[in-house]
Amino acid sequence: MWRSLGRRRDEATIRILLKARLMPRSTRSSASPSVSRSRSRTPSRRTESRTRPLTIVAQDPSIVRDGRILTATVDVPAEALAAGPWGHRVQIIDYDASTDTLYKPLNATAHGTGGQFLDPYANAADRTILRDPNFHAQNAYAIVMRTLARFEFALGRRVSWGFGSHQVKVAPHAFADANAFYSERDEALVFGYFPGHDGALVFSCLSHDVVAHETTHALLDGLRTRFTDPSSPDQAAFHEGYADVVALLSVFSLTGIVEYLIDYSGKRRDTKRDRRVIARKYVDHEQLRESIVFGLAEQMGSELSGVRGQPLRRSLALSRSPRHYRDDPDFLEPHRRGEILVAAVLNAFISIWSHRLETLGDVVPGHLDRRRVVEEGAAAADRLLTMVIRALDYTPPVRIEFGDFLSAALTADAELQLDDSKYHLREHLRESFELFGITAASRGTATEPGTWRAAKALKLSFSRTHFESLTRDPDEVFWFIWENRRALEVFDGAYGRVLSVRPCLRIAPDGFALRETVAEFYQVIKVSAAELPRYGLRAPNGMPRSTVVSLYGGNALVFDEYGQLKYNIHNNISDSVRQQRRLDYLWRYGFFNAEQVTTNRFAELHLRRAMGATLERATGEEW
């Protein structure tokens, strides 16, 4: 059903389909029209639906409203579920290795059969939310599916996981440990549980941002498989920072969470508290930022910092200053550095939101319609989320740096949305990144600064390639690259491979379709340290001459609907400045040591972050 939707979707329709509806836990919230739909005492039923509603915890159980855990009802693609839940892209297998326990899933009928879609946990009590493993399974399933659907919507195509099979396996209670991670080898997302400060168990699978974060790792790994290679500090940080960005924007796109923030803002400051309005002075940039910090960041379960760090609180604590970036040794640890990316995007989000609110008229002097304020916040997060997901297609396939990502996001948005006058997304994003010391990798044009340079000036040969094949066939794309290798600045003499060819259809807000084909090409050569000078590089101090070093390069080729090349976004093997930076970093941090080769990079990274263990290893001192 979801597939048939793909042929006729338009953005407005899909936005409605994906829109999360809050299930308020108090009578006060019943003003929201979405509330009345989902407050029935019996499991909700839908037939012939393209989506299905499922109850999730809105953020995590520490976010409580009117004495109850704040939950949401989200729409996810409808499918006939097997027991697990187990669908076409996600399989929940609730096995706990620490206690050797395999929990029995709900019978498939609980989620509906024969075209009926039930939400067995509609209006679930807090006790059920905390103590029923089958609710935890549903929560994980729904958030993983929602995140996947969000990517597919933004990119206009199916999105594969970062491994061979169709279904990611999810273990909501995999072990008794303060950790959660994506394991490519095991095709899995695994979530731990552990006793909190008060002795009660904390379940990481109940944390929306943790589940969305790990799902994003799995999706990003599918879209840019070389981003997990040891490379630059930025690349190591990008996976973490980007996963945090997607997770947090995903949370902020829930109107209920935004409402929670605004409530907090009103409670703190507005003694009269007319719940239909909010004073304009309480929703400027600084006040909104403060609401996020004190209304959400400080409330999110501190115990979970061992699992996710504290990207929201810590990134918002960064002052807007370029001093944080690149050269500060404190920001070399991947999670810490990733916070810069999070800070830049969150700051842009607040700017976009506050800018939108400035354009709204007062409903009473000095006051705005509270509901509108909430909707604008969720919409700003949603728009920005779409933008950062679309950016992935415009990133170089290897050795990404934050400036590359900024150019990619600006280009992706400019391609689809010529008129940026409503949200000023690109302007706010560019300015915000610059505030944190990140400048776009490309200068762009006078009208669209920071975007990638178009490939139209390149002298390319299409005479031996075929348009239709070029949209789907890696061999055809490789032929095109081979024919044009000099124009595309591909390195002569290196092994090369087309990693992917992905046709996509994106719908602009004006209803027009943008058809593109995105191909990923990467190259590698292996040389000894002694040979590095031939490539304009020097071996890091202490590196034995016989050490084998891999040098990577790659191109993202974006073809238009006529098969013409629009963009050639590349990081070349011959870029000696970036290559040297990468080599020095890898050597300094011991990535050439056998011990650093770990079977599960994300698990180790999360663990070391949580433990405060430094990543820097003395190199060349070991036997």
């Binding site: 440990d177 003395a618 001192e621």
Partner: protein, 438 residues
């Protein structure tokens, strides 16, 4: 009976007898300093985490008895480099007074030297600590929490090994038990050392401090090279501290839960057989077990590194002779010393090296080793003497290049020093003596 001490002014000793005990995987060295009219006895570490199959069951008691015999009933000082099992179990006491630690305690050591992280006051007052980027107070709390974590790891790995059907994974869980046991708190040994320190003089040392051994070893120059403080070795922000401390406190709570039996979080929930899972789960269940085994391994390795890096590193000097005892210090601990040219010039003259951390790959920094000027071929006059106390096949893996002792290191030690390994003693001989004229 304790030997009576002379009040004569101190003079440098003329001879050192170093007795390396066969403790299997562990360290135990008795240093007997021969003065003109007396002897001074210093015990450096006494622990074991795995003994040769042919060793007597009461090996540690036999060693304690031998120490008593060698020192004539009076120990002058004890150095505990760090509190890992393979360095501390010999100090364990028994209620009936039959533990090896009871024997040692009766020897009435005048000085007990431990790393500053063992200082009971450090838990509340310290502002600096050792190696890995955490402030002192948090670091000590973290080390304390690690003991609980270790207990949890051992309990969980033991249960998982018992239910494991795949031999390689069962072996992995058993290996985890060994590693985890290293870090379990040996309360009686810790309390015994504290009590001995109170009865005499307890010193808790860090890089650059006086060791406290000076008063029992007149004429011997003693330099404390490690552990460094955090301020000396790292400048990580306090926010990181909060994360790490938080993590270890929570891990400790999880460890307690595991050690207490590992009750499933939903005891009343319906379950399926994990031994014969339904077909849809048969591929995945073993994978989650592997994921867990790897996770536990990462945790114990990080704990192991952290504890090793609290090791006291001592350098003894008499005339042209220099004796280096680094405990299990790894590179992170060594780094502060390696960065100081003056100290490195001094270390170049080392004549005896107790090989760090049982010969592991990252406890003998190459910069240090290749800086030793007495290193060289067999015919080199005044050739460096090296001794490692170790036991192969207990730790690490050859495939990963983490085996202990590390083959490449042993080859180098054999090639360029007078090398001795306690492994060569087998299970029948208790110790090996080395004599040094000073």
């Amino acid at each position: 009976m304790a030997a009576k001490r002379s009040n004569r002014p101190a003079r440098a000793p003329t001879r050192l007898t170093l007795r390396a005990y066969q403790v299997g995987f562990g360290d135990c060295f008795l240093l007997t300093w021969q003065y003109s009219r007396t002897q001074r006895h210093v015990l450096i570490d006494f622990g074991s985490n795995g003994q040769p199959t042919t060793a007597p069951k009461n090996l540690l008691n036999a060693i304690a008895d031998d120490i008593r015999k060698q020192c004539g009933g009076k120990l002058d000082a004890i150095v505990l480099t760090h509190r890992h099992k393979d360095h501390i179990t010999g100090f364990t006491t028994q209620k009936d007074g039959s533990g090896p630690g009871d024997v040692i305690r009766a020897l009435g050591p005048d000085v007990v030297v431990q790393p500053w992280t063992e200082d009971p006051n450090a838990k509340t007052d310290a502002t600096e600590a050792t190696t890995d980027g955490i402030d002192g107070k948090s670091f000590v709390s973290m080390l304390s929490a690690m003991h609980t974590v270790s207990a949890g790891v051992v309990a969980e790995a033991g249960r998982l090994a018992a239910t494991e059907t795949a031999p390689w994974r069962r072996q992995m869980f058993q290996g985890l038990t060994f590693l985890g046991e290293e870090g379990i708190l040996n309360r009686s040994a810790v309390e015994n050392l504290m009590a001995m320190g109170k009865a005499g003089t307890a010193t808790y040392v860090r890089h650059g401090q006086k060791s406290g051994l000076e008063k029992v070893l007149p004429g011997v120059g003693i330099t404390v090279l490690g552990p460094p403080t955090l301020k000396q070795s790292s400048a990580i922000k306090k926010e990181r501290t909060a994360d790490a401390t938080e993590f270890w406190m929570l891990r400790a709570a999880a460890g307690e839960r595991m050690a207490a039996g590992g009750e499933p979080p939903f005891p009343a929930a319906a379950t399926l057989s994990s031994r014969r899972p339904p077909p849809y789960a048969r591929w995945f269940v073993p994978r989650v077990r592997s994921i867990r085994a790897e996770g536990l391994l990462s945790i114990v390795r990080i704990m192991d590194d952290a504890m090793n890096n609290t090791s006291v590193i001592l350098l003894f000097e008499v005339g042209d002779s220099m004796f280096l005892f680094p405990g299990d210090a790894q590179i992170e601990n060594w780094q502060y010393t390696l960065d100081q040219p003056e100290l490195m010039r001094k270390l170049a003259n080392v004549t005896f090296y107790k090989v760090g951390h049982h010969g592991s790959r990252n406890a003998t920094p190459k910069t240090l080793w290749f800086g030793f000027t007495h290193r060289g071929p067999a015919n080199k006059p005044g050739r460096l003497r090296t001794v490692v106390s170790t036991m192969a096949d207990k730790y690490g893996s050859l495939a990963e290049g983490t085996e202990v002792p590390r083959r490449t290191l042993v080859t180098e030690l054999q090639k360029n020093s007078d090398f001795f390994t306690t492994q060569s003693l087998g299970g029948n001989k208790l110790s090996q003596d080395f004599e040094f004229e000073l």
